[in-house]
C-alpha cells in the first residue's frame, strides 16, 4: 500500500508538470489532451474508488498550484472523477477491455461541464461555445492517450498484486 501511495504521488507529480508545461501548450484540432485526467482514470480503475478520490484530490491540488488557478476547483472535479471511475471499475468495468476508454470518454465530458459550471458559479467569464467546440477533439486526444497511459499504469500498479489470492486449507 505504501508503495502504491509513493508511486501515485510521483506519477501525478510528473503528470501535472508534463500537462501544465507541454501537453496544454499543444491544441491539435482546437482541443487539449488532459494527461492528468487520463492518468487518474487508469489509477482509479486499477485501485478503486477511495484511492481514486484521494489521488484526484492530490492531482487537482497540484494542478491548481501549477496553473495558479483557484485552489480547490480541480481538486473537487478530479476527486469526484476519481471516485466515479473507481466505482465503475469496482462494480462493472475493471476487467473489460473497453473500460478505460468508456470511463475516459464519459469523465472527459462530465469534467468539462463540471468545470464550466464551477467557473460560472465563481463568477468567472466562461464561454460555453468555446468549451463545447473543443470537446470532441479533447475526447479523441484523451482516448488516444488512454491506451499507452493505461498500459503503463498496469505495469506500475500491477493488477492482482493488491489482494493476492492465497490458498486456504480447511479442516
Amino acid at each position: 500500500m505504501t508503495g502504491d501511495v509513493f508511486k501515485t504521488a510521483i506519477a501525478f507529480f510528473v503528470a501535472v508538470v508534463v500537462q501544465a508545461t507541454i501537453v496544454s501548450s499543444v491544441a491539435p484540432g482546437g482541443g487539449k489532451a488532459d494527461l492528468v485526467l487520463v492518468t487518474l482514470a487508469a489509477v482509479a480503475l486499477l485501485r478503486g474508488s477511495i484511492f481514486g478520490a484521494i489521488a484526484g484530490f492530490y492531482a487537482g491540488f497540484l494542478l491548481d498550484a501549477a496553473n495558479l488557478d483557484t485552489l480547490g476547483v480541480s481538486s473537487l472535479l478530479l476527486c469526484l472523477a476519481g471516485y466515479w471511475i473507481g466505482r465503475y471499475g469496482e462494480t462493472t468495468g475493471r476487467d473489460r477491455a473497453h473500460a478505460p476508454l468508456v470511463s475516459i470518454a464519459v469523465v472527459t465530458v462530465l469534467s468539462a461541464f463540471g468545470a464550466l459550471a464551477l467557473h460560472a458559479m465563481l463568477g468567472e467569464s466562461v464561454s460555453v461555445q468555446a468549451g463545447l467546440r473543443a470537446l470532441p477533439a479533447q475526447i479523441l486526444l484523451n482516448l488516444l492517450l488512454t491506451v499507452p497511459v493505461y498500459a503503463l499504469a498496469r505495469r506500475l500498479f500491477a493488477p492482482g498484486t493488491r489482494h493476492p489470492i492465497k490458498d486456504v486449507e480447511f479442516g
Binding site: 508538470v17 482541443g31 478520490a53 491540488f61 501549477a66 496553473n67 481538486s75 469526484l80 468555446a130
Partner: protein
C-alpha cells in the same frame, strides 16, 4: 470528506486577499513545482521549435512573397517616420511638452519563459517563470518577445506569475488607430472565431482596413489605462456599421499568435518602485 475539504479550500481561496494563507500555500507548492516545470519546458522547447519550423515550411513560399511586399512598403514608411520623429523631437522641445509614460522608452523588460498553459478552453491565462523576486508586480503589462501586447499580470507568487491574456473575456484595453488617432476599447468578441473588436468607436470617426492598432494609454471612462501608450496590438481586419448601432463594428487581427507563446516580457516602469517584494 475530500469534497468538503475542496469546497472549503475553494471558498477560502476565493474570499481571501492575494496575501492570504491559501495563496501562500499555493505559492509554496508552485515554488516546489517551478524548477521541474522550467526543466520540462527546456526539454520540450527543441521539439516545439522543430514542430514550428516544420509547420512553417508549408506556408513559407507564399509568406515570403507577402513579406517582400510588406518590406517595400515598410521601407517607405520608415523614411517618412524618421522625418516625422525628428520633427516631433524639435516640436516637443519648443513646446516643453511633458508626456505620460510610453513604451518602450519608460519601461524595462523582464523576460520570462512560459512554464504552464491553462488546460481548459475557457481559461485564457498562462504562468511565467518570473515572480516577485524578479520584480514583477500585479497589473504589470506583458508583451511578446517581439514587443506586441499579450496581456497583464493578474497573480504573483515569489517565483512565478499568472498572465491573463488579451483573449480572456475579462480583458480590455484602451486602444487607438495609429493612423487616425481614433480611440476605442479593444475586447474579445463573441462568435465562433472570437475576433478582437475595437468597440465604442463613433460612426463619424475614421478607421480603415489595415490600420495599426496600439495601446492608447489613456483614460476611457472613470479608470485610467494600466497599459502604457504605444504597444502594438494588431491591424484592422474589418470595418462595418449598421443603422441600428451607435458605434462602428471593427474587427482587429492581433499581431501575436496566442496559441504559441514561449517567451514573454513583463514591462516594469523605469522609475524606482517603492513597494517591497
Amino acid at each position: 470528506m475530500l469534497v468538503v475539504v475542496s469546497i472549503a479550500m475553494l471558498t477560502l481561496y476565493f474570499r481571501e486577499a492575494q496575501s492570504g494563507p491559501m495563496h501562500s500555500v499555493q505559492g509554496a507548492v508552485a515554488g516546489v513545482l517551478h524548477p521541474f516545470q522550467v526543466g520540462a519546458e527546456r526539454v520540450a522547447r527543441p521539439f516545439r521549435d522543430a514542430y514550428g519550423w516544420t509547420a512553417g515550411l508549408v506556408n513559407a513560399r507564399s509568406e515570403n512573397e507577402e513579406l517582400r511586399k510588406d518590406l517595400q512598403l515598410l521601407r517607405l514608411q520608415a523614411i517618412q517616420n524618421q522625418t516625422a520623429a525628428r520633427e516631433n523631437v524639435d516640436l516637443r522641445r519648443a513646446l516643453r511638452y511633458v508626456s505620460g509614460p510610453s513604451f518602450p522608452r519608460d519601461y524595462d523588460g523582464i523576460a520570462a519563459s512560459v512554464t504552464s498553459h491553462a488546460t481548459g478552453e475557457w481559461e485564457q491565462s498562462l504562468v511565467i517563470s518570473a515572480g516577485r523576486r524578479n520584480g514583477v508586480r500585479l497589473d504589470d503589462p506583458v508583451v511578446s518577445s517581439e514587443g506586441y501586447l499579450v496581456g497583464q499580470v493578474t497573480k504573483v507568487t515569489r517565483t512565478s506569475s499568472e498572465v491573463t491574456l488579451l483573449t480572456d473575456s475579462t480583458s480590455s484595453v484602451t486602444a487607438l488607430d495609429v493612423a487616425t488617432d481614433t480611440v476605442g476599447v479593444l475586447e474579445i468578441g463573441e462568435g465562433p472565431d472570437r475576433p478582437f473588436e475595437l468597440n465604442r468607436v463613433p460612426k463619424e470617426k475614421v478607421v480603415e482596413r489595415g490600420d495599426t492598432i496600439s495601446t492608447a494609454g489613456r483614460r476611457f471612462g472613470r479608470l485610467g489605462s494600466l497599459f502604457p501608450q504605444g504597444i502594438p496590438i494588431g491591424s484592422v481586419k474589418h470595418v462595418g456599421q449598421t443603422d441600428i448601432e451607435n458605434f462602428q463594428q471593427i474587427q482587429v487581427d492581433p499581431f501575436v499568435d496566442f496559441s504559441s507563446l514561449d517567451t514573454l516580457v513583463v514591462l516594469v516602469p523605469k522609475e524606482n518602485r517603492t513597494d517591497t517584494p
